[in-house]
Structures are given as structure tokens and as C-alpha cells.
């Protein structure tokens, strides 16, 4: 059964995996130390390329050479690779949690050779091995049939239809207009979906809080405007990131991110949505939407609408940590250091200087009697170009 593809992958994963194992076995036969190499996924190996608009990996590699200390990791890698290859051959799909239990089951059931030393004590151990395999083969987890239970990405629109090609080759189309108040939520491989605008779509609004997105839609935001509204539900999951990228690439509409004015939102949510993250360097090209703009809350909105702010105190341990992290990010994160994103860096500097934070829901305080006030402000901001 052929699965939907994330991208046009030129690699044959089973063939690559076999070649790797062949090399390892050959090395062992010659009493030579086999090594496994993977891209180093960390901030010190991340580069922001303004032309492509996302974080790309540098030359640094994580090299694991077989020795007494690493023999456990390598044995576990080969063991998990075998399970994943089986999945690819069978066309079956599993989550990381399921793979963890499958590994446990195999350790228990295998007769003859004692696999007990490979047993994972907890899921993070098996997750790390799966990630290592993906980084090593330079593939996405979805390409080795390991799917995530992605949250977020609830999408509302009156002018969007989505066509999905199912594993058996048949196609199904969902017109979001027909879903009523229920959202459409993409899963796993949004890149494989085909989008079509039934009317001209003016913009796509990604709202940090899924609750606020739902409020806007319930109040008729999507009925009055030819747009797409999406709830990000915090730090964007792979599905949300890929879904944004798909909307950006296929519909070519401006995408605006509407979230809190605080360091966490800028560093972790907006940056990840726009340029990917250091932990996912291998997949940023397909899981980031560089065209996304930050609509607010902006520092100027705080003044203009006299929004309520919370103070961020150096005395509070968690606040002090977040301020320290913000200063760190300005110095070390290639995204914030790049000229192209100087406006976002400016906001971060403003936050550090003024030591405040303002939530997106603060717009509801502008005119509490008018339920459409937030919608009006958002539209006004888009029209007037009040975003960065």
C-alpha cells in the first residue's frame, strides 16, 4: 500500500539503511570501528538563510564511533531501524509511543538471542534513537512511517476546499464551508493535501490561542471576510508548521500570526512557525512558512489601545529566566541576528527594556461592549500594514 508522500524524496530509505548496515558489518569483520554520522541539530550549527527564510544546517556532524560506551546506542539504533524498515515494507504506521511498546514487545518475545539489554526504560530513550535514525538518514519521521499525534491546526474558512489522496489512490475532497462550526484539522502529512480557493482568499490568520480563533469564527469572522483562520495551540506542531507552509505555497496568500506580545511567543512560537527550529534543521525546508508576518500584539498597539500589560520582574525566578533567555536569543539566535528580522528583534529588545508582556486577549478590553472590536482591530491592522 503506497503512502502519501511529504516531498519528492529521491532517497530509497530501505536501500540506504541496508548500505549503512552493510558498511558497519564490513567494518566489524575487519575489526575496524564502524561510525554513524548525523547532522548536528543544535543552535551552534544553525544558519539563517534570508534568501530561503528558514534555519539551515551547517557542516557540523554528530559522529558516533563504536566503542564500549556507545555499543548500547548503536545496538539500539540497529534494533529500532529494523522495526522501522519492517513498517516501511508493510506500509504500517505507528506513533513514537507505539514504537516504544513494539520494541518492548520484541525484547520480550524474541527467543534465542537475549535482547533484554536493549529494553528501553522510558519513551524518551526510544524517541532519541528514532530521531537519531532520521537525522542520520536525513529523512522526516513521517517518511519512516512514524507519525505524531499532532495538536493544533484547527482551520476555519468559507472559501477553501481540501483534496486528499488516500493510500488506496482514491481522492476525497472536503469543502470547509460545509463543516459548519467544526474545524478542519490536517494530520501528519499536510504537504500531501491539495488546496483550492473557492473564492479569492485575502489572507490567512494564524491565532496563537485556539480559543480566541474559535471566538473570532463564532462571531462571524470567516463569514464576513474571505479568509482562513487557524488556531496554532501554542508552540506549533509539525502538522501546523507543514499546514502553514502548504497554505503559503499553494494559495500564495499573506499569512499573519496573531499572538501574545512576550518573549516566549516570539522566540518559540513565531520563530518556529516562520523559520523552523534548531532541533529540526533537517526538516525546516518543508516545515516552515517564511512568509508569515507578525500581526501583533505589537508594542505600538499597547500604546494605541492602552492595553493591559503584566510586569516581568527580575525577582521572579521564571520571569528572570525568560528575560535571560531573550537576551541570549538576541545574541546567539541567527534568526534574530539577521537584518531581515530586525523588526522582530526590535520588539524583543522593547520587551527586555520595558519588562512587560501583553496577551492577545487584551484587545477584548478595548471596547468590551462591542464583540466585534477585536475583529475590527485585526482588520484595521492588516489594512494599515501594522505588522512586522
Amino acid at each position: 500500500m503506497a503512502l502519501m508522500k511529504v516531498r519528492k524524496l529521491k532517497k530509497d530509505i530501505p536501500k540506504e539503511a541496508k548500505a549503512l548496515c552493510e558498511q558497519m558489518l564490513k567494518d566489524l569483520e575487519r575489526a575496524k570501528r564502524p561510525t554513524l554520522e548525523a547532522i548536528k541539530c543544535s543552535l551552534d550549527n544553525s544558519f539563517y538563510n534570508p534568501k530561503v527564510g528558514y534555519l539551515t544546517p551547517g557542516d557540523k556532524r554528530v559522529r558516533t564511533e563504536l566503542n564500549v560506551s556507545s555499543v548500547q546506542k548503536l545496538s539500539r539504533t540497529i534494533f529500532m531501524l529494523d522495526i522501522l524498515l519492517e513498517n516501511i515494507y508493510n506500509g504500517s504506521v505507528n506513533t513514537k509511543r507505539e514504537l516504544y511498546y513494539m520494541a518492548k514487545g520484541l525484547v520480550k518475545s524474541t527467543r534465542g538471542i537475549n535482547l533484554k539489554p536493549l529494553d528501553f526504560d522510558d519513551q524518551p530513550e526510544s524517541d532519541a534513537i528514532i530521531d537519531f535514525i532520521c537525522d542520520m538518514l536525513m529523512v522526516y519521521r513521517e517518511e519512516v512511517n512514524c507519525f505524531a499525534n499532532d495538536r493544533g491546526g484547527q482551520t476555519y474558512s468559507q472559501c477553501l476546499s481540501v483534496t486528499e489522496t488516500l493510500p488506496d489512490g482514491s481522492k476525497t475532497t472536503v469543502d470547509l464551508k460545509n463543516l459548519g462550526t467544526a474545524p478542519f484539522q490536517p494530520k501528519n502529512r499536510p504537504q500531501a493535501l491539495k488546496l483550492k480557493a473557492t473564492k479569492k482568499i485575502e489572507f490567512c490568520l494564524v491565532v496563537e490561542s485556539e480559543g480566541t480563533a474559535n471566538t473570532l469564527v463564532s462571531n462571524g469572522f470567516t463569514r464576513r471576510n474571505n479568509c482562513i483562520v487557524m488556531g496554532a495551540q501554542g508552540v506549533p506542531s509539525n502538522a501546523v508548521r507543514a499546514w502553514c507552509k502548504t497554505i503559503q505555497d499553494q494559495l500564495k496568500v499573506p499569512i499573519f500570526f496573531f499572538g501574545d506580545l512576550d518573549a516566549y511567543t516570539l522566540q518559540n512560537i513565531y520563530r518556529t512557525l516562520k523559520a523552523g527550529s534548531a532541533a529540526s534543521l533537517v526538516r525546516n525546508s518543508d516545515f516552515s512558512a517564511p512568509e508569515v508576518r507578525f500581526l501583533g500584539v505589537l508594542p505600538e498597539d499597547v500604546k494605541k489601545y492602552d492595553l493591559h500589560c503584566y510586569t516581568v520582574s527580575e525577582k521572579n525566578a521564571s520571569d528572570a529566566r525568560s528575560l535571560k533567555k531573550a537576551r541570549d536569543v538576541l545574541q546567539n539566535d541567527p534568526f534574530f541576528k539577521d537584518k531581515k528580522n530586525k523588526d522582530v528583534a526590535k520588539i524583543l529588545n522593547w520587551l527586555i527594556k520595558h519588562k512587560v508582556r501583553c496577551e492577545q486577549q487584551a484587545f477584548f478590553s478595548v471596547n468590551p461592549k462591542d464583540p466585534l472590536m477585536t475583529e475590527k482591530i485585526i482588520l484595521d491592522k492588516i489594512r494599515s500594514g501594522s505588522y512586522v
Partner: protein, 645 residues
């Protein structure tokens, strides 16, 4: 107004302020009474060059007179020189009657307060003082009498005097019945006290029976009675003006220069010249002391204080010694390894002081001990300090050290964690205590620094042991890894590419070679760690004639022998011996198991050595067994003779 002012006796003062001398609670009362009696016995034995043999018995006699207390009987019997009958009242019933006061010697007792305070406590809580039995060599019969403190006149009153035949040639037995509470374990426990006393008195043989428990006997490990050094002359810099003048008047009619040279240590002709330079008129030197005025004394004193003098002599301090301490530490439990350090005497705050440290890891402290703080045993002039730990200089010094670098777990600024005992002994003729009950040593910077140095030295020795253990564990882990993962890795690779049996076999051999190289690197590390440890042991052996490991092994062999000796049919098994036999057999098995554990790790070469060592030990053990048999036979005949009498 004048009619209202009354003078009261010393005894009256202490009777009202017994909390100041260690009787602040029923718990402390029992321990302080025991401590004072034991201190006196040990001091008396040492003074007369007798190897001390103490018998201690503590029993509950019923309900105490006050709430939440019991009536506790404390009996301490020694083999010391004994007390003349005239002295009994003075010693047990009179405050500040002491042969040791202000002598400047490292004796346990100093002021002559403690035992009289215990008698007072007995009198106050049980309406009866102490019952003392005494016999000196000169006395034909022993004397038993009750001693009470006459609080109004600060005198000991002897009552119910009787004479009788005693089995001892000489010695003292005191029996207190007081209100108190008995705690055996923990910081303020009696067992902890006895353990500590045993540790710093290797020449002591101790027999004790606590409550319903059986008799326990801890034999001595040293046959040398410590020679308490004679006091040295006072150092001028340690005196105050008043003391200086009183000291001068003791010397009487001699001239000042003679007095300075005779009456003080570290004062030479050159120092006197220096005093003159610093403002002491030359004319004073030949002046008679009795003719000198207060002003002139003041002049002399300030010139002396302004001039520099060599530090006081350190000859007056006493040490337990590394050898004795090493042997003694093995008496208090099943020790895995230990390190001892005796520092050279040093001057701290113008007083000679010596610090000794023993760190030992115990195997018989139970699993809980792994996660608990170490047991800190503090000693001042060989007396265990058991209360008010936090304010003590010793605790401060231990807490200030980073024990993690020596391989021990430790939270910041607190005692390290693990089944260890850290024993720290401070000995000095002038220990600065924080209070009259002598529970805490005052923490001066100089003293804490000296303590830290001793602790760090001991910690380094301990660290080498732990490092070697870690390396051995690392090697073991690596060996286990090869066995575990090698076949799995090859099997996995072969499965994915469909390789045949031959390739698998070749790969497995290759893998063994590869991992073998890693193991040999770990073996090298272990060998290096062992080399360092060996060097340390060699140095110790050169200095003391033995090393820690050797001592531990010897002690376990001795115990095996004593167990075998106990099995002999001709030995009449008294209740005392039966207990000590049981205890030792338990210890031996525990030690055997540790040995097994260490053996697992050790290399083949070391195994061979141990086999060779064991062979020699066995032959030594046989010889000892024979001699032990003789000793036990002698003991049996002695006992029979006593029974006949």
C-alpha cells in the same frame, strides 16, 4: 543593705545551675554521669601507667521521681589505682577539688566539677548520692561508702562506710542511681559514646551491659598506656596582666630577668634584649620581683606583648597516633576501608593543638546509611562530644569541605552522605570550649583551618580508594557491555542485510577485538589508580610499619581465629563470651561477603597475590589459634580460682 547580701558555696551555685555542666535534661544526665565517671577512671589509669579495663552497667530501676523520666542505675568500675578513703569525699562530693586544674596537661577532666555534679544530680533526683567502692594496693580490704554533697559547705560527706574483701587488687567502682532517660543510638546515644570512647582509647578494654542486652566485651588493641606529656611553662603572649603578676609573685624574691627566663617558655636573652628595645627599662632587669610596683609590671608586660616571640612549644600535646587509631577504628564495626591522619602539633590562637582524623566506611550500617549523612564523631582531649553539633568548630570544618571531590555525595555546606564515620579529635591542654559542659569547641579561624587541612589529607587518602573502586566498576561495566551488546549488534546488522553465519562469526570476532582494546584502556586506568593507591599504602607502611588494607585483613583473620577458639569444648561458655562470639561471627561473614565483592573486580594477578597472602595468613592464623587456646585456658583456670574464693 549589707545584711541582704549573702555569700553562697560553689556547690550551692552548681546545684542550682546543673544545666550548665551537662545536666539539662534526663537524657543528658545519664550520658554526662557516665562520661564523667569514665573520664575520671581513664585519667587515673593513665596517670599511674595502668592499662584501663572498664566495666560499665546501665539498668532501669523503675519510674523516676519527675515526669517522663526513669530511675536509672549507672555503674562504672575500673582497675585504676583506687582512691584513699580520705579522698573519696573530696573527689565525689566537693566541687573544684581536682588534681588537674590549670596544670596545662591534656587530661580529660580539668576543673573537678563533673563527677561532683553527677553526685548532686543523684542526690537531687533520688535523694541519695553515689555509692563508691575503692581499694588501693596498700589497702587490705576494699571500702564501700555512700557519698553525699553537703551543698551548704561544698564538702563530700561519707556515710554507711563498710569494709569487705574485693576480688580486685585496686580500683574504684561507683554506682549512681539517678533520674534519667536512656537513649542508646543516635548522636546523643550511649552506644555512640562508647563507640567514640573505644575509638580514641585503643589501650582500653571495655566490658559493658546496657539494659537487657547481653554483655559486650571490646578488647584493647594497644598495650601502651599513653604518656600524657608534662606541661610546658606558660608562654608570655598567652597571659593577661593580672595572671602575669600573680605568676611573678609565685617566684618570689628573684630578679626580673631570671623570672622571665625561668617562669616562661620561649624567653631567651635575645628576647629580653628585644623587650628592652620595645620600651622595658634596662634597670628593671635586676630588680627584685617583690619590690616591683604595679606600674612597673604594666610596663614590662606591654613591652613583652609588643615584641615578637617564637610560638609556644607543642611538646605538651598528646596524640592517639595513626597506628593506634588505625587499629582502634576496626573495633567499632565492619570496616571496608579507612584512612587516618595525625597532624603535627600546631599553634592555633597561641595554644598548642593537635588534630587527628579517622575516616572509615562501614559495611554493617544497613542500607539506610547509604542515603543518610555520615556519622560525625567529635572528640576533645579524647572525650566524645555529643551535643550541640551545629555550633562546633569540627562540624563547621567538615561542612566547609567539598567532599564530592573525594568521591562522597554531599549537599552544599552540609555533612557528606554515606555509611561513613568521620572521627575528628582535637587535643590540647587549653581547648576553648563554648560552655562549662564542654560540648562544643569554639570555632576560631585558625582552628577551623587546621581541622580542614587534616580532613582534606584524610579525604585525599579516601579519594584514592574510591577512585580505584570507580575504575574497577567502570571496567566491570565495560566487560559486561561487551558480553551483552556485541552479539545483539551483529545479529541486528546481519538480519537487516541478510548476512550468513560466517560473516556473523567474523564480525563478532572483530567486535570482540575492538571492544577488547577499549577494555584494555580501562584496565590501564584501573592499574594506574591501583598504582597510586599502592604508593599511598607503601608510604604508610614505611611510616607506620603497616597499611590499612593489611590491618583490615589481619583483623578479619583474628576474628575468624577467635570464633574458632570460642568453639573449643574446654572453654566454659559464659554469657559474656557467648555474646562476643555471636557478634564476631556476624562481623566475619559480612567481611567475607565484602571480600567476595572486591575479588570479583580485582584482576587475576591480584587474585594470585591474595591467594598467596591467604596462605601465609592461614599459617599465621594457626599459630595465633594455638596461642589463643593457651590464653583461654589460663582465663578459665583464673575464673575457677575466683569462683572458689
Amino acid at each position: 543593705m549589707a545584711n541582704q547580701i549573702k555569700s553562697s558555696s560553689t556547690a550551692e551555685y552548681f546545684a542550682k545551675n546543673l544545666q550548665q555542666v551537662g545536666f539539662s535534661s534526663p537524657l543528658k544526665a545519664v550520658l554526662t554521669t557516665l562520661k564523667e565517671a569514665v573520664d575520671n577512671s581513664l585519667d587515673a589509669c593513665e596517670e599511674h601507667d595502668i592499662l584501663p579495663e572498664l566495666i560499665i552497667e546501665i539498668n532501669k530501676k523503675g519510674k523516676g521521681s519527675s515526669r517522663s523520666s526513669d530511675l536509672v542505675e549507672i555503674i562504672v568500675e575500673d582497675n585504676g589505682p583506687g582512691l584513699e578513703v580520705d579522698m573519696v569525699g573530696k573527689v565525689f562530693g566537693e566541687y573544684l577539688a581536682s588534681s588537674k586544674f590549670g596544670r596545662g596537661q591534656c587530661s580529660r577532666g580539668q576543673q573537678g566539677i563533673g563527677i561532683s555534679a553527677a553526685t548532686t544530680w543523684a542526690q537531687l533526683t533520688n535523694a541519695s548520692g553515689v555509692v563508691v567502692t575503692t581499694k588501693t594496693k596498700k589497702m587490705r580490704k576494699a571500702v564501700r561508702a555512700k557519698v553525699d554533697v553537703d551543698i551548704k559547705s561544698n564538702r563530700g560527706v561519707i556515710k554507711q562506710k563498710e569494709t569487705f574483701d574485693w576480688h580486685k587488687d585496686h580500683g574504684v567502682r561507683c554506682e549512681f542511681i539517678i533520674d534519667g532517660r536512656i537513649q542508646l543510638n543516635g548522636d546523643g546515644g550511649i552506644l555512640t559514646y562508647l563507640e567514640g570512647t573505644t575509638l580514641v582509647n585503643p589501650h582500653l578494654t571495655l566490658k559493658y551491659k546496657l539494659l537487657e542486652n547481653d554483655w559486650v566485651e571490646i578488647p584493647r588493641v594497644s598495650d601502651e598506656v599513653p604518656k600524657v606529656p608534662k606541661p610546658t611553662l606558660p608562654h608570655p603572649h598567652t597571659m593577661k596582666l593580672g595572671e602575669f603578676m600573680t605568676h611573678a609573685h609565685i617566684y618570689g624574691k628573684i630578679s626580673l630577668d631570671k623570672f622571665l627566663k625561668k617562669g616562661f617558655s620561649r624567653v631567651t636573652d635575645n628576647s629580653i634584649k628585644d623587650f628592652v628595645k620595645r620600651g622595658m627599662p634596662q634597670a628593671y632587669l635586676k630588680k627584685n620581683l617583690n619590690k616591683m610596683s604595679e606600674k612597673e609590671f604594666k610596663n614590662v608586660f606591654s613591652a613583652i606583648q609588643d615584641s615578637e616571640l617564637p610560638n609556644p612549644s607543642t611538646k605538651s600535646v598528646l596524640t592517639v597516633g595513626e597506628e593506634a587509631l588505625s587499629k582502634s577504628v576496626l573495633r567499632i564495626g565492619v570496616v571496608d576501608f579507612f584512612s587516618v591522619v595525625t597532624r603535627k602539633p600546631k599553634i592555633c590562637d597561641y595554644k598548642p593543638i593537635v588534630v587527628e582524623v579517622a575516616i572509615a566506611r562501614f559495611l554493617d550500617r544497613g542500607r539506610d546509611a547509604e542515603d543518610k549523612q555520615i556519622q560525625l564523631l567529635r572528640f576533645a582531649n579524647r572525650v566524645p562530644l555529643q551535643f550541640d553539633k551545629a555550633g562546633c568548630a569540627i562540624t563547621k570544618a567538615v561542612e566547609s569541605i567539598n567532599w564530592r571531590s573525594y568521591g562522597l555525595a554531599q549537599s552544599k555546606n552540609s555533612l557528606p552522605i554515606g555509611p561513613y564515620i568521620i572521627a575528628v579529635a582535637v587535643t590540647s591542654p587549653f581547648i576553648k570550649f563554648k560552655n562549662a559542659s564542654k560540648e562544643t569547641i569554639d570555632a576560631s579561624d585558625e582552628l577551623v583551618e587546621e581541622l580542614r587541612r587534616a580532613l582534606m589529607q584524610a579525604g585525599q587518602k579516601l579519594g584514592r580508594h574510591i577512585k580505584r573502586e570507580e575504575k574497577a566498576a567502570d571496567l566491570e561495566r565495560k566487560l559486561a557491555h561487551i558480553e551483552k551488546f556485541g552479539p545483539i549488534l551483529v545479529e541486528g546488522l546481519a538480519k537487516i542485510i541478510g548476512a550468513g553465519e560466517q560473516r556473523k562469526k567474523r564480525a563478532e570476532e572483530g567486535l570482540k577485538k575492538l571492544l577488547g582494546r577499549d577494555t584494555s584502556a580501562a584496565e590501564d586506568d584501573l592499574a594506574a589508580a591501583e598504582q597510586r593507591l599502592k604508593k599511598q599504602r607503601e608510604m604508610q607502611r614505611q611510616r607506620l610499619g603497616f597499611d590499612a588494607r593489611q590491618l583490615i585483613e589481619e583483623s578479619s583473620v583474628n576474628e575468624e581465629v577467635s570464633v574458632n577458639a570460642g568453639d573449643e569444648p574446654e572453654e566454659a561458655p559464659t554469657s559474656k563470651k557467648a555474646t562476643s562470639k555471636k557478634a564476631t561471627s556476624k562481623k566475619t561473614t559480612a567481611k567475607k561477603s565484602t571480600k567476595k565483592a572486591t575479588k570479583k573486580v580485582a584482576k587475576k594477578a591480584t587474585k594470585k597475590k591474595t591467594v598467596a597472602k591467604k596462605a601465609t595468613k592461614k599459617s599465621a592464623a594457626k599459630a595465633k589459634k594455638k596461642s589463643n587456646k593457651k590464653v583461654t585456658k589460663k582465663k578459665a583456670t583464673k575464673k575457677a580460682a575466683r569462683a572458689k574464693k
